[in-house]
């Protein structure tokens, strides 16, 4: 269910580390809780985020939720497809990244949950 190459937060974000860069999205559990996503508000490229800082909001018909950064770092890209196709978050939550970051503290990611620990949490 939860890909093992991702790390997870208790706030239901995932992070994929690759070549010194990190992609961030929300988990399948989170998208199911939200229901149909209609809007994702993302930060400016270049913004510096602290671990746990809100970087945007995600809105479904039912609710609005903050998005929290799993690690500290600088935003290097935001997913341009989400403006017109926010429903991709529902369809493919673990492949639909929201922001890319250049992490500034590598140890932070090591302390996040792995797939099995997260699966226990998201029951």
């Amino acid at each position: 269910m939860y890909p093992t190459d991702l790390k997870y937060t208790k706030d239901h974000e995932w992070i994929r580390l690759q070549d010194g860069e990190a992609a961030v999205g929300i988990t399948d559990f989170a998208q199911r809780q939200l229901g149909d996503v209609v809007f994702v508000e993302l930060p400016e490229v270049g913004r510096t985020l602290k671990q746990g800082e809100a970087f945007g909001t995600i809105e479904s018909v039912k609710a609005v939720s903050d998005l929290f950064s799993p690690v500290s770092g600088e935003v290097t890209a935001v997913n341009p497809d989400l403006a017109n196709h926010p429903e991709a978050v529902n369809a493919k939550p673990h492949e639909t990244w929201m922001i890319r970051l250049r992490p500034s503290a590598a140890a932070e990611a090591d302390a996040l949950l792995d797939a099995s620990a997260y699966a226990n949490l998201a029951k």
């Binding site: 229901g35 149909d36 209609v38 809007f39 809105e59 018909v61 609005v64």
Partner: protein
Amino acid sequence: MSSSPAALKKTPLNARHRASGGRMVEFAGWDMPVEYTGISDEHLAVRTRAGMFDVSHMGEIEIAGSDALALVQLLTSNDASKLAVGQAQYSALMTPAGTFVDDVLVYRLADEHYLLVVNAGNIVKDYDWIAANGRQRGGDAAVVNASSRYALIALQGPEAQSVLQSLTAIDLATIRYYWFAHGEVAAVRSTVSRTGYTGEDGFEIFVPPGQAERVWLALAEAGRPVDLRLCGLGARDTLRLEAAMRLYGNDMDEQTTVLEAGLGWIVGWQKEDFLGAGTLRAQKANGLERKLVAFEMQNRAIARHGYPVMSGGTQVGVVTSGTHTPFLKKAIGFAMVPAAMTDVGTPIEIEIRGRREQGQVVPEPFYKRAKKAAVR
């Protein structure tokens, strides 16, 4: 904190919702399904095929006796004297200030027997109000809170008639919009009303609580060929808003007059007198200071209940309902705004989480179903 689940009221279909995978939430003191397969999926099913809702949390108040009509006429805005037996009307249960105690459907069950279908959160308040006025007025009008005697199932969508027809001998084609008939549905004594809260064709079916599950399961089975969806309160809200139907407690309440809510069409102006008539007549003659308008936004962010409507640097109004509609794929809503801002096309600026977003006033409803094709 809201009350614990144990303290919540349950409809006769509660266990069925849980067994069918409904996601349960608290609504007006009731434990109700907010969604089954997803709000969009359920919404689109009602717009294109059929959907079924448990609305047994709604209340039923009966008024009977030779003075029943007089009491209904005194307390509600619409002209109930125009109702034939077998007919229903939308109306306001009035305060003396011309505002809403509740919004209701008034059914004429018999010559001297009326049934009011009221909002779940207002059952006790409405009953107390009607009973107190009945006592004060005197005369022959018994007022009974009959809510526990009815379960109510809404079957909505273009295929609703074909699904229901397979389970009843009532000739549904003869029931016009806002009329009802008695008969059996799945061999259960029922009252079938061509009404609903979705903007789609459909029926609301009153059944005895003990038989509700039988009817529900039979309808679900009969709906299989058209891929009927079980629907929750989430889709009920997006559907009613798309159809520009008001929600008590959001769009109007005891502070909102019937005219401010944009519901002048439910005022029986020819009636002699009714509670709040003076205020409504004065507002009609002198104009309104504020009124509910329908709006749509340019962008996707939802302008939700309570968000401020801005003009220049100040708040001039408030969003009363807002959603993103799965069918029209737009952020829409109702807002209470000053009278000068109510013309269609007027720009409207709404503060959404600290940001100003642009929209405009649009005509109601947002969605209107296509007229039925000519009968073959």
